[in-house]
Symmetry: C2
Subunit: 434 residues, 2 copies
Amino acid sequence: MDNKLITPRKLAGFMELEPQKQIVFDNMLAKIRKVYEKNSFLPLDTPILELSEVLLAKSGGEIDKEVYHFTKGSTDICMRYDLTVPLARFVSMNFDKLNFPYRRFQMGKVFRGEKPQRGRFREIYQCDIDIIGNENLPICADSECIKVGYEIFEELNFEPIIELSNRNILFGYIEDIGFVEKRNDILTALDKIDKIGVENLKEMLLEIGVDKENTTKLVELTSLCGPFDTILEKIQNLSTNEIYVKGVNELKELNSYLKAMQIPEDSYVLKLGVIRGQNYYTGTVIEIRLKGYENLGVVCGGGRYDNLASYFTNKHLPGVGISIGLTRIFDILDYQNLLDLNFSPIDLMIIPLGDTKANCMELLFYFRKNNITCEVAYEDKSFKSKLKDANKRNIPYILIVGEDEVKNNAYAFKNMASSQQETLTKEEILNKLK
Amino acid sequence: MDNKLITPRKLAGFMELEPQKQIVFDNMLAKIRKVYEKNSFLPLDTPILELSEVLLAKSGGEIDKEVYHFTKGSTDICMRYDLTVPLARFVSMNFDKLNFPYRRFQMGKVFRGEKPQRGRFREIYQCDIDIIGNENLPICADSECIKVGYEIFEELNFEPIIELSNRNILFGYIEDIGFVEKRNDILTALDKIDKIGVENLKEMLLEIGVDKENTTKLVELTSLCGPFDTILEKIQNLSTNEIYVKGVNELKELNSYLKAMQIPEDSYVLKLGVIRGQNYYTGTVIEIRLKGYENLGVVCGGGRYDNLASYFTNKHLPGVGISIGLTRIFDILDYQNLLDLNFSPIDLMIIPLGDTKANCMELLFYFRKNNITCEVAYEDKSFKSKLKDANKRNIPYILIVGEDEVKNNAYAFKNMASSQQETLTKEEILNKLK
């Protein structure tokens, strides 16, 4: 060839899986989808590309350097970096056509030009649900999202531990102790409790200007974590601040629904250190971790927000949702060799001997019609190397089809694990495979 | 609000569906996927973004103005415009890890900055399968792709008509009559036969320089369309040109496999006017149309190519594949009101009366656990407007849950179509819904 070859490369930070892993990944996606559908969320599929004016509305037009941003002709375009702004746009545009509460799920790729590293990608599968109310949205909706998050990780064969709080508790408490003007700084500090530890946190709070006594109290409050009833009991009389009391009451109500929906009581805790991003959530906050897989960190996060789309519409659209970043979870499981990749994607390999390709294609049709996944090894190479392939691929059964076998409907059917070989009709083979 | 609102808009040429339509679209995608999996194709999910150098390798680096192309930092990036170049890159990069023939399916969005119009979008769902051989790939593979295309449209409740040809027939015939140096011009003209009609085609061929006699012969040949055996009989002795004979033999072999896999003989024809894009296919060419939906045109196309990735590797990788552009098909069906949108995504709406929200959440859990899709109408609005919602949404059953109902496990269960109302236990209701 006198072609000048181009080296085939992919962009850094973009996950691309070999077939076996992709099957596992797709199974996870399918299970998540099934749970979303079963809980009667409606699918949404917004474009990958949005007008920059729209996508950056939330940030006042400022382009985060992580956003993929370009122009085509005279159009200023961004690739979506989450599924929430597109949801806000969609709901605002289609308000009159939607039923409220509007329950949508969306599963798709989002794009962030972050520095790639283990578990951090530039193209990420995000799997979101949100319930959007028109003017009001009862706490029932929060409990539904929590239940769905629980079911998903159960379905994926994990033991989820759901950590819950309500941001009104800290909002109210901080107001109560007189530091309302430093609220955001204090919350940013408290959010770090798990990462930096209690002593460093205290120092941070003192630096912010909180007095010693209240520093201790704040850290004590934020350290509380345990069974819902126990922690609720402990915190319910700590403050009479109106926002604080609202938080306590919302947690009580939430708890009653979680019990009603029979989430096991050892699967969820009230943990006041759950704070999440600072400017977004306004009530319930949700984080899910997996028992025995603590190094995965938070595998699902979410919560309640006051208003989905205030930059697009004057309608008041309170909502609650959760989000799962599947790409990161999968990558870490893969890196730690925790994926079960030891399976064969097909049950049967049909190997022609002599002039029997058409007969093999007939058998292929017969078995596939009966839901056996199979292939014909029709490529031009030796019988021996086809056997070797079947072995390498862990294919459990092979069928050898020579001209005599076709005449007699009696095929050599071999169990690759036991090396046992039998002569059987295709009907008998089908029965064995079933 | 003193917010300055941004008008929520989406980019032109990007399909975005309301919930009911999205459910139908997703069902179509799921059915296609199921057929691909059943036929033991392996999933591949390449990134949306590729290095421009790689994506434009095939075109010698020339950027088609339709390609979304930009830089981020110092990286020159394109959005994928098909799934074939990414496949070529993937196979070249992962050659040693893959089993050949490598059978992959990929379903995902591709991007083309075309002028938007009915049925033509800038973001398109493409659903592809390809079988890639290492050095060789028997015609069996072509027959498998054809069978899969047939099954998909059957699964989607259409009657597919598969139109097949083999490009070697025209390649050889044109060589035979001495116009080999005008082959591409002649093929381009012949490809238009359905669009421009026989008379205009003849004029084009004469203009190209083909003599009158051969013009007539070429048009006659290209007009042939009918049952495989009949047409094969007609054409098999028209030329002794080596390439022509190769084409005839490949078609004969293909036919034997199509029969073996029991594709009904009235579902596929040999049609020499099937030519497809000029520079790509080298053997079998495939087009599928749908009986009774002729205005959809070709809903699936594909064929055999000599070498997948000659711009990335010196390995010889012959392949065959088909591609379905679902976005266009769906849009035309939608535009012609051919989609069945008259269904309720949920079976049951549970309506609380009085202080029974927690009880409703318990019932919600009970029914969902038993695979009934349902919702609780927990939003703060009147009972009457909740009933109205249920009606508007075509929800078949509602359950009214007051405090007495809970005490007695006896709920008002209403069939919305018949307006018939019964008092039943939750177990009885479950039985009715099943």
